[in-house]
Symmetry: C2
C-alpha cells in the first residue's frame, strides 16, 4: 500500500490509473478505524480496480465545543488496518494541505441539511460536503463508499453528487455492529464501562420500532414514544431526537405510508458522548 499526503501527488497518481483504464474507489474516513470502516474498504475493492482510503479528521465538520481536538487518533494502527483490508492507497493529508490559511470556499446542500443532525450540528454538513467535494476532485473516483451509520450524510452526499454533477456512483454499506448490537463508532471509545453497557439499548430501541411497524403500527408518534421510553429507561442516555421518516427524502411521517422505505434514526447523548444510529424498514 502506498501512502500519499499531497493533493498534487494524489491527482497525478489517479490520472495515471484512469489513463490505464482502471476504475477507482474511494473510502473517506476520519481514521481510528474499526470493522465498519474495513467493511467499506472491502466493498470498494469489490466495486473498483483500485481503492483509495482517506484518513482526515476534518475540522470543518466540527463546531466549536465539539470533539475535534479530542477525536480519537491512532495513525500507526490505522495504516496497518487499511493495508490489511487491501486498500491500494492511503491518502492522509495535513490540515494545512486541505485548508490553507486563504481557504474560503464551501459546498452547501440546502433543505435536508436543516433537520435531524443538521438541527443539532448546524455547520456539520457544510463541512462534510466541502471536504467530500475536495476529496472527489483530488482522487477522481468512479465509486465512493459510505456507511449507512451516517444515514443523513449519505442522503446529503447523494444530493450534492446529483446537483453538482459529480460523475461518481455512491455505494452505501450496511452498519457493522458489536455483539450486543451497538453500532461501531470511533466515538464508542469515549464511553465508560457503564455507559457502554447502557448504550446497547440504542439498537434494541430501533429493533423495537422495526417490530412495531412490522406488526402493523403506522402511527409515528406511538413508535417514537416507544423508542424514547426504551432509551430513557437507561440513566445515562439523553435523547437529541428520534425520527421516523422517508428513507430517501427524509420527509417526516405522521402516519407511515405503505410501500415505502422508512428510516428510523436517532441521536442520543451518553454523558459527553453523542451517538447516532438508525435502521431502515421496507414495507
Amino acid at each position: 500500500m502506498k501512502q500519499i499526503t499531497t493533493v498534487r501527488e494524489m491527482q497525478q497518481t489517479v490520472d495515471l490509473i484512469r489513463r490505464e483504464g482502471r476504475t477507482i474507489g474511494i473510502v473517506p474516513t476520519m481514521g481510528y478505524l474499526h470493522e465498519g470502516h474495513l467493511s467499506l474498504i472491502r466493498e470498494a475493492k469489490r466495486n473498483a480496480d483500485i481503492t483509495v482510503t482517506t484518513i482526515f479528521v476534518n475540522p470543518a465538520q466540527f463546531a466549536p465545543g465539539e470533539d475535534y481536538q479530542r477525536y480519537p487518533r491512532d495513525f500507526n494502527r490505522d495504516i496497518k488496518l487499511v493495508d490489511s483490508a487491501g486498500s491500494d492507497f492511503l491518502f492522509a493529508p495535513t490540515v494545512e494541505e486541505m485548508y490553507p490559511s486563504s481557504f474560503s470556499t464551501y459546498v452547501e446542500v440546502g433543505r435536508i441539511t436543516g433537520i435531524l443532525e443538521g438541527k443539532f450540528r448546524p455547520a456539520h454538513f457544510r463541512g462534510v460536503t466541502t471536504i467530500v467535494a475536495k476529496l472527489f476532485n483530488t482522487i477522481k473516483p468512479h465509486v465512493a463508499v459510505f456507511g449507512q451509520k451516517d444515514a443523513q450524510q449519505v442522503i446529503v452526499i447523494r444530493q450534492m453528487v446529483h446537483d453538482l454533477n459529480h460523475d461518481i456512483r455512491i455505494i452505501v454499506a450496511p452498519i457493522v455492529r458489536e455483539a450486543d448490537g451497538l453500532a461501531m463508532s470511533s466515538r464508542n471509545t469515549y464511553l465508560s464501562p457503564e455507559q457502554r453497557k447502557e448504550s446497547a439499548t440504542i439498537y434494541k430501541s430501533l429493533k423495537r420500532g422495526e417490530q412495531m411497524i412490522n406488526e402493523g403500527e403506522r402511527n409515528c408518534a406511538r413508535i417514537i414514544a416507544e423508542i424514547s421510553s426504551y432509551l430513557t429507561s437507561q440513566p445515562s442516555l439523553k435523547i437529541d431526537y428520534v425520527s421516523v421518516a422517508d428513507a430517501d427524502s427524509l420527509e417526516e411521517y405522521t402516519v407511515i405510508k405503505e410501500n415505502s422505505r422508512i428510516l428510523i434514526s436517532l441521536a442520543v447523548r451518553v454523558g459527553a458522548t453523542r451517538l447516532i444510529d438508525n435502521i431502515i424498514v421496507t414495507l
Copy 2:
C-alpha cells in the same frame, strides 16, 4: 462540431477523450457570442486538444429584477460562430437539465465575493461558482478559459479551483474591445445609439487612470475622482463603483504600492444597462 445537451452524454464523451490521452479545454459562455467569446475559444484551442464551448444562460447568477429574462439570445447564430471558431463540441443544456426542481446545492466562495460586483449583486458569484463547478464536473477539462472582462469572476473562480482542488488550469484571455474602446459585451446590444456613444468614455476613463499611475500618481482617491469625473461627464452614465485594488487579492489601496499589479475596475449603469470594465496596470 458536435452538439450535446445532456450531462450524461457529455461525461461519457469526455471520458473517451481523456482515455485517448487527449486534453480538454472548456469555454463557458452565456451565448449571444461576440468576438470576445471567439477569442476565448481560440485560446482554448491553443491550450488543449479538444475544445468544448458551453452556452447556458445561468438563472442562478441573476437576481430577481435583473436581466435574466431579457438577456439576449440567438442560438442559431451562436452555433455557427462556435463552429467557425473551431470548437469541437458545443454543450448547451436546458435549465431543467442543470437545475432540476430538487436542486439545492451551492458552491460559495467567501470574502472576495462580498465586494465590488458582489456588493451590487449579492447572489451573483454564488450562481457563477455553482454553475462553473457543475460544468467542470460535467466536462472534466484540463484547462478552462475565462475573459479578463469579468476580472472579479476570474479571481473568484481561481479561489474556488484552489480551495476545492479542481485539477484544472485557469487561463485568462484579454478583453476584446470595439474600435472606440468599449469592451465587447452581449449587453451592449441593450444600448441606444446615444448611450452607445457615451459608453466609449468608460474605457477612456480607465486609460486616464492608467496614465495617472504611469505618470507617478499613487493616491487612489485622486485616481478614482478623476475616473469618476470622466464618467459623469456623460449624461447617461451612473457610477456603481470605481475601484483601485491589488489585481490578485482585490485588496483596495489607499496608496498604490510599488512593484504591484493594480486592477482598476468599475461598473456603471447606462440607463437600465449595467456595464463593467477594467484595466490592469503593472508597476
